[in-house]
């Protein structure tokens, strides 16, 4: 009994911290319509800053806390609002998600420059560890009491602010109608700024409380702490503070009971608890309509014709062959990684680009593909490739069955939950490879061709990419592609026109997962290895981000994104921090151009909003003056 109570106290304390994190999310979401994926990363930076002031510079705990939470948090919030978030008013969900993921990565990248992760850091609590009160034979430390009291105080004061003060009501209204708020004499940007300042303060407070409660100071742990906050916030439907509180405390208790009572061979499950709860919460709690209507981007990617895509594929193959001859051998390795990664990235084009379904778990499917490749018929059989496609596609379909009910942000969160659960519950366990090990993945012969040299394998990968890209563009021009776009543009109109929207989404999710699985099997073949760390949720987020930065509807952009993803660490001698930092900064551009870099290039080449000719189409027409212009229907199918 006493043990149970002890875990209960730990659970409530953890829940209190989850609540502080979740309340910040709720505040920023309800004041700006932006779900801040970087919320945990902000808390992480705050926790490290607190450590710096308190432990490294020797400040007392209270002034350090006050400076971080009451100065650092609000300043960060005001700057973010001004530089990034104000531009995102009414932006497509993919853009807001992309920008905040970018911020997350940039903060992780920057933090790993400042605070070397090989060093171990701890924070001394506010009170001496021995000072405690005893209730029912359970000792509750002053620090634990403080955390609980702070959570209650936070809940009460935010509720009072949002519901009983003029600025609070304006903060809640500004996301729905900024102009109406302006009419009432309150500056809309001021209300939005107040929301971000408060949200960032709460993120900082959560970070400090977490490390103060004796947890390790680790960049990733702190950044992902907020995922538990997501689950709590969804229980509160991203709006209700009391339900968020309830969700947070139940989650805290569930996690700690898992630690206390799960049999040792089921201990892995405790890591997946928040994710499973998030998934269940999304399923059973009726979702609110997403706040803030999305504005439609002015620039759209044109859809290449068959001729253009074949010419593009041919050019790509030539470049691939030349690269395989000319590049030094270690560059071959990194470019091969990049092209294989681009094949995984390509799976986002039909899913996110055409159908508007945001997935944060493509690398999970890639991991399943690599797993199937390694386990089926040796590790280098064409059967393995088929198994990779089949396994990833089947799991994708299973996940899609419940998840296709979600839209936009909620689908992103559901797939995030799936990615994190698979990460903790499968890839990082002995089900995958035995702890700390890896799987051997070979290269399958295709059409009687062996790809034993790295150079040959690169050409093979480029050919697969070209084929897949041509196939996806053909799909887009066909019935299925029109249905995808129609279901995304207006699901109600598509349904009343006879399109089975759910079936269409299920199909594209399955197809996308299968392609990611194939990419994963091929990625494993580059260096004959599949490691658990290759399939982390954070990498799936990075993938989604870089693809969005370059243009999620552009197969050219996706190739550049994939290859660039591996070239940056190569150019910076394997330092991944640069990758996170640069990619994160690139995300700022999304707030300006939702169609990404490729969309920007297209708009510069094409001009007016009435329809953009494809670059390929232009070149062809220029070089073959005698030919009649291509039918506008093909060129302008999407724009």
């Amino acid at each position: 009994m006493q043990e149970f109570l002890q875990f209960l106290v730990l659970g409530v304390v953890a829940g209190a911290i989850y609540f502080v994190a979740a309340s910040g999310l709720v505040v920023t979401y309800s004041t700006s319509g932006v779900f801040n994926f970087a919320h945990g990363a902000l808390g992480m930076v705050a926790a490290f800053s607190y450590w710096g002031l308190h432990m490294a510079l020797g400040w007392a705990a209270v002034p350090a806390l006050l400076v971080v939470v009451l100065v650092g948090g609000p300043v960060a919030g005001a700057v973010l609002e001004r530089v990034l978030m104000r531009r995102l008013q009414g932006a497509p969900t993919l853009s807001t998600i992309g920008v905040t993921i970018g911020l997350l990565l940039a903060l992780v990248g920057a933090a790993s420059f400042f605070w070397n992760q090989s060093e171990s850091r701890n924070v001394v609590g506010f009170f001496s560890p021995t000072s405690s009160v005893t209730v029912l034979n359970v000792a509750i430390s002053y620090d634990q009491l403080t955390v609980m009291a702070v959570a209650v105080a936070v809940a009460a004061s935010i509720w009072f602010l949002l519901h009983r003060t003029r600025i609070g009501v304006a903060m809640r209204a500004v996301v729905d109608d900024p102009e109406l708020v302006a009419l009432s004499g309150i500056s809309p940007s001021g209300a939005s700024r107040a929301g971000w300042m408060l949200g960032c303060s709460l993120a900082a407070l959560a970070g400090v409380l977490w490390v103060d409660s004796g947890q390790d100071l680790a960049i990733l742990t702190l950044t992902l702490l907020v995922v538990n906050g997501y689950a709590a916030a969804i229980v509160g439907r991203l709006r209700s503070l009391p339900f968020t509180f309830l969700g947070a405390v139940l989650l805290g208790i569930a996690v700690n009971m898992g630690i206390g009572y799960l049999p040792s061979n089921w201990q892995d499950l405790q890591f997946t608890t928040p994710m499973v709860l998030l998934f269940i919460a999304l399923l059973v709690i009726p979702q609110r309509r997403q706040r803030a209507a999305e504005r439609v981007p002015a620039v759209r990617m044109p859809v290449a014709s068959l001729r253009t895509s074949l010419v593009g594929a041919g050019v790509l193959l030539v470049v691939g062959v030349l690269a395989s001859r000319l590049l030094p051998s270690n560059a071959i390795l990194w470019v091969s990684y990049g092209v294989a990664f681009a094949i995984i990235a390509l799976s986002l084009v039909p899913l996110t680009g055409y159908a508007g379904q945001i997935s944060c778990c493509q690398l999970t499917f890639a991991g399943l593909g690599a797993f199937a490749m390694a386990k089926v018929a040796g590790d280098d059989s064409p059967l393995g490739l088929l198994a990779a496609v089949a396994l990833a596609g089947a799991v994708g379909a299973l996940i899609a069955l419940p998840a296709i009910r979600f839209q936009g942000l909620y689908l992103a969160l559901a797939t995030l939950a799936f990615a994190a659960s698979m990460d903790a519950g499968f890839f990082q366990t002995n089900h995958f490879d035995g702890y700390g090990g890896f799987l051997t993945v070979g290269r399958a012969p295709v059409l009687g061709l062996q790809f034993s040299s790295g150079r040959a394998y690169l050409v093979f990968l480029v050919a697969v990419y070209a084929l897949a890209a041509v196939g996806i563009l053909a799909l887009r021009r066909a019935r299925f592609g029109r249905r995808l776009v129609a279901s995304n543009d207006s699901a109600v109109a598509a349904a009343t026109a006879g399109v089975r929207v759910a079936r269409t989404r299920l199909a594209v999710f399955t197809l996308s997962a299968a392609l990611a699985g194939l990419g994963g099997a091929l990625l494993g073949g580059v260096n004959f290895v599949a490691e658990p760390n290759d399939y982390q949720m954070l990498l799936s987020l990075s993938l989604l981000l870089i693809v969005t930065v370059w243009g999620v509807r552009s197969v050219t952009g996706v190739l550049i994104a994939g290859v660039g993803f591996y070239l940056i660490p190569y150019l910076f001698n394997g330092n991944v921090s640069w990758l996170y930092l640069l990619t994160g900064l690139g995300a700022i551009g999304i707030s300006r151009q939702p169609e990404g870099v490729m969309g920007d290039i297209m708009s510069r080449l094409g001009g007016g909003p009435g329809g953009l000719p494809s670059v390929g189409g232009r070149l062809l027409r220029r070089t073959t003056p005698g030919r009649a212009p291509m039918t506008p229907a093909v060129l302008d199918a999407d724009g």
Binding site: V296, R300, R479, R482, R483, V485, A486, D489, S490, V492, A493, A494, A495, T496, A497, G498, V499, R500, V501, P609, G610, G611, T631, P632, A633, D636, A637, D638, G639
Partner: protein, 283 residues
Amino acid sequence: MPMVEPPDLAASSSAGDSGVSSGGDEHERGAPASPPALELRGVSLAYGGLVALSSVSLSVPAGQVTGLIGPNGAGKTSLYDVVTGLTRPSAGRVLLHGHDITRSRPARRARLGLGRTFQRLELFSSLSVRDNIAVAAEAAYPLQLRRVRRRPHSDASEAVAGQLERVGLADHASVRVDTLSTGMARLVEVARALAARPTVLLLDEPASGLDSGETDQLAGLLVDLAAGGIAVLLVEHDVELVMRICSDVVVLDRGSVLASGTPATIRQQREVRDAYLGQLAVS
């Protein structure tokens, strides 16, 4: 349940000459007691405490334009949402050619012959005019293996071409729809609804945003469609248009049917004038 085979109206570019008399079930065509194309029996809908529809019963016969009028908030669009399956009614039944479709999904209803347009335009904004129409046509002409040998897409593409021609948008086929004027966008919605080969067509204020020439063109089109056997239900604030082309008019007020009858009888009714027509006359 036998699938309703819709008459092949959509593929023909000229309306009114197809000779199909009614969009009824194969077995029941010509029978004296053939059910109305669309029938609502005691349909109610409540959002929390707010009653949007209260035991609405009405029937829409094939081969004519039926008007549905009423002040703003009377429940006209809610009724359309219930009929097309976007909203589940809290009580009552919806029948299409005598078949109960109350629990069918929207896409199933569309394939059974129910088409609609939206008051607030719901176009596939990133597709061209042609592709907007094609999405509906392709749902109505599913790919079948036995058809593959003789050009699988031809049925759907003929239907698209026919509809483009019919609403006069053939010259704009390749234009992205979000660059169109409201009037043209409304015509695209009508063409898209027609491309799905409906036997029952629900139109939600199709004339709003149209100039008088376009309105006349639309009126002619609707009369032609009805003559071709389609049951047309028309929600419209342009009372003059409603009175001109509708054979019957149903007046909805605060979620209930206030009156129904021919345009002439509707005009005479005091409560209708009080609830709606008088209000319009003042404005």
